[in-house]
Amino acid sequence: MSDAVSLAGVASAIGILTGLGVGFGALLGAVSERFKGEAHPLVDQIDALLPQTQCGQCGYPGCRPYAEAINEGDALNKCPPGGDATIQALADLLGREAEPLDGEAPEQDRVAFIREAECIGCTKCIQACPVDAIIGAAKQMHTVIEDECTGCDLCVDPCPVDCIDMLPRSAPLTHWQPVAPLAPGVIASDRHPAGGN
């Protein structure tokens, strides 16, 4: 008797639990389908951290391809325009070790400038520019739109008459940055007293 009762009890318990499992599973599935968030695949997140100069110094044709390569395990340290800050951000995102930069970080933000008198209008630089920042036509003078130029210097090599220079970017006054304050950690008494003797 007691055996039969316990058998029925076990069977009903298993039945109820299975039912609950299936029910909640279906509910979760439906909810996750219904309230699906905006997908942020890892490649997009990596791409967002890259400086988007599209310079190709990493060996890939643009920032997005490099982001895809990083996702597949390529090294983090191939982006000179991004510098150490980008490497650190990528390392934080991917939980990998930050490595020293492979190559030299540019000291200054630069922009391409075409010496217009020497330009022969070959359109080679226009074809090389990854962000369409050079305007001109065949046998017409070309010029760089400074605001659109990312300073990638991909236009410099193709130029047959070497009339493209990389010049420091002229920053508007509104983007002026104050000179960095004295590094924290200097002991107060070590500083030269202001206005002192």
């Binding site: 988007q52 643009g62 990854p130 962000v131 369409d132 990312t150 104050p178 304050p181 107060a188 202001a194």
Partner: protein, 553 residues
């Protein structure tokens, strides 16, 4: 008298106003040469519209505004333009001060559009310090309903008495200017917030309040405490309304104006005089004749201080603005701008250099004086550690940079400097991020265009091949790669969806903020369209080749 609502924090620094407010308002001499910067206001710099050698009268427009948040600049003396650079225009005066005035208008009889146009062409900007273009501020009514106009006459910073003095001299005109601006923005009441340390100005205002029409004017005398004049705090004190974080007073139906701005606006309308001069306080122990002066914009600070008897031997530093929020000038070879409300020529004892900073002892003094209830100490740590997300979490951008925390800090830490630098750094990062995003979109557009061109080329080649085939009869079909029709169809549907999404986003943004440019979104839409075209072409081509191979079989 209206009830006042308590706000927290604040400090009581020595006022030192008596040196400059005992003397009546005077006229500074006409400068022989002026240098007028193209950016004397918030927003974008003006664009010069004169050339060297041109003769200009006082009040001739020399730079036009560029964009919505920008302002015109006018010649402040008559003479010849000698130099136009990217940042400033220099005029050599003829000493005659020949005036160019616009037709005087009666604001009660004139429609709002004409008045706005007049404020625009007179280059009136907020003279209290931020320099927000007055015509743009008046047009806030297009987006917000305004019920109250506040005249911010608190002038809570030590030393400065320019507003105090003009309120004593021109109370009627300032109220009339306020009535004009109130009618422009549809405010039904005007409130004057003034600190109780200006009894003469309060008396002068009381005499004219009763006759002021049509909006009702109330005078609220508030206790003297720095920084009671901060816009958001004043609104809280007078109306008990809280301006949201990163919001504007217009969000709670209020506009604040400085008395000087109202006077300039009235002069621009009533007498047709563009903004070419302003009242400024010249004070400090190193000056022998301190006081308030009408000064032409563009006057050299060096010449101005020499005129009021600067004792160079005693001078330790010149501060532009108040001692709390102002900047120490590195050079006196600079012009007066629309925003220069005060110059303090201080000697060593008056504004001694700050002692070297010691480490923070976590006393919490800064926290109790912060008028906007931030945690200055936490911000200090995070600013030094460059923890940018924490800084934003602790509302760094709500800091009004009043300097109360630095003033009370027993370790003499220049806290506000840290915050300013951190804010600058964060703004710079935002600009860089926006630029990177823009470059990315341009790159994507280029990729899409190249893909579309490639697809078109393929389609043309295909068409040519097909034509050649039909004309030459039934030569064997070239083994066209059987493209996967299904995946191409999916790609085309996705491209269509992307175009629709981009269109929707652009339409929504264009509706929400019609004044701004949406170049970036338009480019994203163009990219999606290029992608769609390429997908269409590829699909059509694949279908054709599929058909052709079926026919041949």
């Amino acid at each position: 008298m209206m009830p006042l609502f308590a706000s927290r924090g604040g400090i009581y620094p020595p006022e030192r106003k008596s040196r400059s407010n005992q003397v009546p308002l005077q006229q500074a001499p006409l400068p022989a040469r002026v240098i007028l910067p193209l950016r004397q206001h918030s927003g974008r710099p003006g664009v010069a519209c004169v050339t060297p050698g041109e003769y200009v009268k006082t009040g001739t427009r020399i730079a036009k505004r560029d964009g919505l948040i920008s302002a015109d600049v006018h010649a402040s003396i008559s003479g010849t333009v000698t130099q136009v650079s990217a940042h400033a225009i220099q005029i050599e005066g003829d000493g005659l001060d020949t005036r160019h005035t616009l037709t005087p208008l009666d604001w009660r009889e004139t429609d709002a559009l004409t008045l706005l146009a007049r404020l625009d062409e007179s280059g009136v900007v907020g003279l209290g310090g931020a320099g927000f273009p007055a015509q743009f501020k008046a047009r806030v009514i297009e987006r917000h309903a305004i019920d109250t106009l506040i005249i911010n006459a608190t002038e809570c910073e030590p030393y400065i008495t320019a507003d105090d003095i003009i309120l004593r001299h021109y109370p009627g005109e300032i109220l009339e200017g306020a009535q004009m601006m109130a009618s422009l923005c549809g405010a039904s009441q005007i409130m004057i917030g003034i600190e109780d340390n200006k009894p003469e100005a309060i008396a002068a205002l009381k005499q004219v309040i009763a006759q002021s029409r049509p909006a009702r004017v109330t005078l609220s005398v508030i206790p003297t405490r720095y920084p009671s004049g901060s816009e958001k705090l004043l609104i809280k004190t007078l109306l008990n309304r809280t301006v949201p974080s990163q919001g504007l007073p217009a969000d709670v139906g209020v506009l604040c104006h400085n008395p000087g701005t109202l006077l300039a606006a009235l002069q621009a309308v009533k007498s047709g005089q563009p903004l070419v001069e302003r009242v400024m306080t010249l004070t400090g122990e190193a000056i022998t004749r301190p006081g308030n002066y009408w000064v032409r914009l563009g006057t050299s600070i060096d010449e101005l201080l020499a005129h009021v008897g600067l004792e160079r031997a005693r001078l330790s530093k010149v501060v532009q603005g108040g001692p709390m929020m102002g900047n120490t000038l590195d050079t006196l070879n600079a012009p007066v701008t629309k925003l220069t409300n005060c110059l303090i020529a201080a000697d060593q004892a008056e504004l001694p250099p700050a002692p070297p900073a010691s480490p923070c002892i976590r006393c919490g003094a800064c926290e109790s004086v912060c008028p906007v209830q931030l945690l200055p100490q936490q911000l200090h740590w995070y600013a030094h550690a460059r923890e940018d997300d924490k800084l934003e979490q602790h509302h760094l951008f709500d800091c009004i940079e009043c300097g109360a925390c630095s003033y009370v800090c027993p370790s003499h830490i220049p806290l506000v400097n840290d915050y300013r630098n951190a804010k600058d750094r964060l703004r710079h990062q935002q600009i860089e991020a926006a630029k990177a995003e823009h470059a990315k979109h341009r790159f994507e557009f280029r990729q899409a265009r190249l893909a579309r061109e490639e697809a078109e080329k393929q389609a043309r080649r295909h068409a040519r091949l097909a034509q050649g085939k039909s004309s030459s009869g039934s030569s064997a079909p070239t083994t066209a790669p059987q493209a996967d029709l299904r995946s191409l169809r999916i790609a085309q549907t996705a491209a269509k969806a992307a175009v629709r999404k981009a269109e929707k986003v652009l339409a929504r943004e264009a509706q929400q903020s019609p004044d701004e440019s949406h170049d970036d979104l338009e480019m994203q839409l163009a990219t999606a369209r290029e992608n769609l075209k390429a997908a269409d072409l590829k699909l059509a081509q694949a279908r054709q080749s599929a058909q052709a191979s079926e026919e041949s079989q």
